[in-house]
């Protein structure tokens, strides 16, 4: 287990360049504590896999250093960094049984049979593979194979970090649950430093203590799942996290009043000193909006109900005010007849963004 530090890392696939556009990864600094679970979350092309490969040693960064426990490993090849990596598709040794697959890393490091056997059996039990221990690995299902890949990473007692590159891609949704919770459980039990790359926000938020949201080679926000949900510091984070994402709508701002298309909302904070030509937007998650019957006087925005999607657990209601569209998450739609309603904001969870960045005002 190790503390991982990234110091002024930047990477360009075309080698050293003065042009910032050539950089797949713009300059970033990160410190990850020993034994933490971290997720790199972002859309395709945001640089998360590049960053993972820099940590694992498959890529040498154009600029900057990688440190494990304050030791510079930037120029060290993968096999000397003492890490484990799990890939998108299961990587197993076809000709070996499950037992032999799991034992392989220990065998290569010269451990004796007496040391290997109990560890393999214990790990297999934790992963739910004990029944298939002596079956040839290539005959198992995709999720079992991925568990074997995972097992090979965990079998060594002293890895600096375990890196996951979208490991649940080939797994069915039903089995994703099992694997995810097993991963979390194993993390709590063994306490390895784990770094998980994904574009799926549910995976990132459920797995990690801290999530690093990336976009176009830059880190946009680092925070706990709760912080990212409640206070996204950038409109991209608001949009990317949450299904559906945050509603972000342009507005005009005066003190503690926001105006959307002429309709006023009273906010919980007061904002001063906004630059004149800045882009001002109001951001509120669908979970913090409510619909009331159309005759509720004065409160909220008058909206048209465009569509209602029932996904069993709750309903997603799409409403519109002129050209502005809002998604609202509600469990019940009682009292909603007709196709108009009033949209109510939970102002304690309503954020204001200036030029896509979150600003904090004075509490009233």
């Amino acid at each position: 287990m190790a503390k991982v530090t990234l110091k002024e890392i930047a990477h360009s696939y075309s080698g050293f360049s003065e042009n910032p556009d050539d950089y797949a990864l713009k300059k970033l600094d990160l410190t990850w504590r020993d034994g933490g679970a971290y997720a790199l979350l972002g859309p395709s092309g945001c640089g998360k896999t590049t960053l993972l490969n820099i940590i694992s040693g498959l890529l040498t960064p154009t600029k900057g250093q990688v440190l494990f426990n304050d030791q510079d490993v930037t120029r060290l090849p993968t096999e000397q960094r003492n890490i484990a990596q799990i890939f998108q598709f299961p990587v197993i040794y076809d000709t070996m049984t499950v037992f032999q697959n799991l034992a392989f890393p220990l065998k290569n490091r010269g451990r004796t049979k007496e040391e290997i056997e109990p560890r393999v059996i214990e790990l297999a039990k934790m992963l739910g593979l004990e029944k298939d221990l002596y079956t040839k690995a290539q005959h198992l299902t995709a999720d079992a194979k991925q568990k074997i890949s995972l097992g090979r990473g965990l079998i060594r007692q002293s890895v600096n970090a375990i890196l996951f590159d979208e490991p649940l891609t080939v797994i069915d949704p039903q089995l994703k649950w099992e694997l995810r919770s097993q991963l979390k459980f194993l993390h709590k039990k063994f306490g390895f430093t784990m770094i998980y790359v994904t574009h799926d926000q549910t995976e990132a938020l459920t797995f990690a203590d801290e999530v690093i949201v990336m976009y176009e080679g830059e880190i946009v926000q680092v925070g706990t799942p709760e912080a990212l949900f409640e206070r996204p510091e950038h409109t991209f984070v608001g949009y990317f996290i949450g299904s559906p994402g945050m509603n972000i709508v342009p507005c005009r701002l005066q003190g503690h009043r926001a105006t959307i298309d002429g309709h006023e909302i009273v906010l919980s904070q007061s904002y001063e000193n906004i630059p004149v030509d800045a882009r001002i937007e109001i951001g509120v998650r669908p979970e913090y909006l409510r619909l009331a019957p159309p005759n509720s006087e004065g409160e909220g925005l008058p909206v048209q109900i465009i569509k209602v999607d029932d996904i069993g657990r709750y309903k997603i209601v799409r409403v519109g005010l002129n050209e502005r569209i809002f998604n609202v998450v509600m469990t019940e739609l009682s009292g909603m007849t007709g196709d108009t309603a009033r949209l109510l904001f939970d102002i304690d969870h309503t954020n204001i963004y200036v030029n896509a960045q979150l600003i904090t005002g004075e509490k009233r």
Binding site: P77, E79, F87, Q88, N108, Q138, H139, R152, V170
Partner: protein
Amino acid sequence: MIVKQTNQKAWFMVLPVFLVVAFSAIIPLMTVVNYSVQDTFGNNQFFWVGMDWFKDLIHSERFHSAFLRQLMFSGIILLIEIPLGIVIALAMPKKGWGVPVCLISMALPLLIPWNVVGTIWQIFGRVDIGLLGHTLASLGINYNYTQDPIAAWITIIIMDVWHWTSLVVLLAYAGLCSIPDAYYQAAKIDGASRLSVFRYIQLPKMQRVLLIAILLRFMDSFMIYTEPFVITGGGPGNSTTFMSIDLVKMAIGQFDLGPAAAMSLVYFLVILLLCWVFYTVMSNIGEESSNGGA
């Protein structure tokens, strides 16, 4: 009832091919079968002998030695060429300018007409004017492929290795290139030695390709005619008289059409049997790996 409206037009497209194959393969084959059950004194007079030629053949000392010689030859060829081909393929670069250079130099021996290959080595090995023969003689080694059976065998084997190993190399290389990088990375992380990487990742993933290579090399070496004929003519004595050479000697040299026809049929059936065995093994392996894949 299911109304079968399947399109039958495709059969017409097959017809020309069918006719060509019939003319060039099936009808000649039937002719051979015809000859194998008859005897002739020339003048196109044939009379029926039934299975006599086949019986003679099975008990023929000459046929047995040719057959055994052939098997030994094919066996040695496979034992050398397959491992050598794999080793060369492993050494070839996967990226960069070295790739086309290597591929072209590997392909060159395969492009040379076979009798030219035979001629090259025939001259190469001559003690008086050949580079190899002369060098060996000046080193004091008694090398004469026209008189020494061992030297003859070694020359033919080396010639075949020079000529055909490239095929194994190219096939193995293709197989190696299809292995995703992630496997090598995982092996590095697992601390696997180079030998382990070969044994547990590369060899299993090359299985299907290698089977094709073995099948092709076996069939070609089993049928070999041109090159050894050009170099040694089947000699010294009959130490390099492989099956095809023996067959041609009998059919054209001795004009014993009956026994020759019988021998070629037996030859044909042996190859058919071995191909069937290979095919069954290959499709079983294919099934196994597709069952294992999710």
